[in-house]
Symmetry: C2
Subunit: 212 residues, 2 copies
DNA sequence: TGTTACTAAACGGCCAGTCAGTTATTTAGA
DNA sequence: TCTAAATAACTGACTGGCCGTTTAGTAACA
């Protein structure tokens, strides 16, 4: 045993974030129920007991993981909407491109899958995600579309459904990646999907006068 | 104790189907891991031990549940495609209407959610669903769109992405129903979504000559 | 009376959560 | 600056309960 190397360090401040990050990886791979605290602890570089210095229960960790993924995104979406007061087409390209970037380079897709999968067992998590993220994002998009309708840019129709139409292919492509690509399915190229989707949908969405 | 009423009946032929149906209900509500054999047994009207006369393990039941949801649908989709050799618009309205009906009146939506949620833990189930149902359906739709492109009905573009664009709102609306509606989210009206979606998307999809 | 579908109780492995002890770090006294 | 006592972050072995699975026995039906 190397006398100079301590067996562990006391790093109270950093532990919670490290544990949450480790838990995200393990939950994303196994799902909530099949994830073992032992695995989370090992991944975080602590013992199982140490986790309980910072979290009450396993569910508590899950809540922290899911909650953490929300905050940075909701502000981003709203800022994006505010930044494009002009033609709807600009806004849509900006927003969808931004979301596509988030979804490819962060574990948001994994978390989404977990929220869908565990919604029945953790209704309060589904509620938080809906109230604070999904509903906000959809509402922002819906409002932007309704405003464009008022300006005469967009044809009549339910703006909430238009918003759904816009983001649905992105979500499905992400779930496809998480679900079927690991078993050999051909992936979808996210930028290509969104590019073609926006091009196609805008033609049906915009009034004649608003087309480029 | 009523002497005339037997404690149980011997109904070997019916048990498997009853157990699978009960398991579907319990799995759909709780997810695979949180579902208890005890609950499935009670719902099916048998004892826990009886289940093991017909299934090897809990996973075995899950496989039966998921597999059962596949067969009736894949044939339906292919028949639908074969029945509409004419203009793409007819086919799309037929197919999406049909799928919307299935998804509202059968537990396919629940099963889809389960497949997404448990794909990592049961890769062979994800594979079966992909190979036998999802990929088939998407492939059929893609082929129909490609054929329409060859006829000059549909604009250039990746037909597989067009297919994704077409069905994505339906899938998201279903997952929305399963995930967020139970916690107070406003549901989407599936027929309204598909009607507006087809109307809008076709405008962007069809060539000028093919528009009604 | 024999066969076997079925029940109910018991088993055992797994794992979230606990706890008594250990070690890093801080504080305070010399 | 060194040392010792005090503090609390951390470890790892342990446990209690839950639940999938087994099995010995029972009851339905031919």
């Amino acid at each position: 045993m190397d006398a100079g190397a301590p067996k562990f360090r006391r790093r109270k401040a950093d532990r919670p974030a490290e544990i949450v990050q480790a838990a995200l990886a393990v939950f994303a791979e196994k799902g909530f129920a099949a994830a073992k605290l032992e695995d989370i602890a090992r991944q975080a570089g602590v013992s199982k007991g140490a986790i309980y210095l910072y979290f009450e229960t396993k569910e508590d960790i899950f809540r922290a993981v899911v909650g953490q993924a929300i905050a940075p995104n909701v502000v981003a979406v709203k800022a994006m909407a505010a930044a494009h007061p002009g033609p709807l087409a600009d806004l849509l390209r900006g927003v969808t491109g931004h979301i596509a970037g988030i979804v490819t380079h962060t574990p948001l897709g994994c978390v989404l899958k977990m929220v869908v999968g565990e919604a029945r067992n953790f209704p309060e998590i589904a509620r938080v995600w809906h109230d604070e993220l999904v509903s906000q994002a959809l509402g922002t998009l819906t409002a932007a579309i309704a405003a464009a309708q008022a300006r005469g840019e967009v044809k009549p129709g339910d703006p909430r459904i238009y918003a759904l139409q816009l983001i649905a292919p992105l979500l499905v492509a992400v779930l496809w990646r998480e679900t079927f690509v690991p078993v050999g399915a051909e992936p979808f190229d996210l930028p290509a999907v969104m590019s073609q989707h926006i091009d196609t949908l805008l033609l049906g969405l915009l009034t004649e006068g608003a087309r480029p």
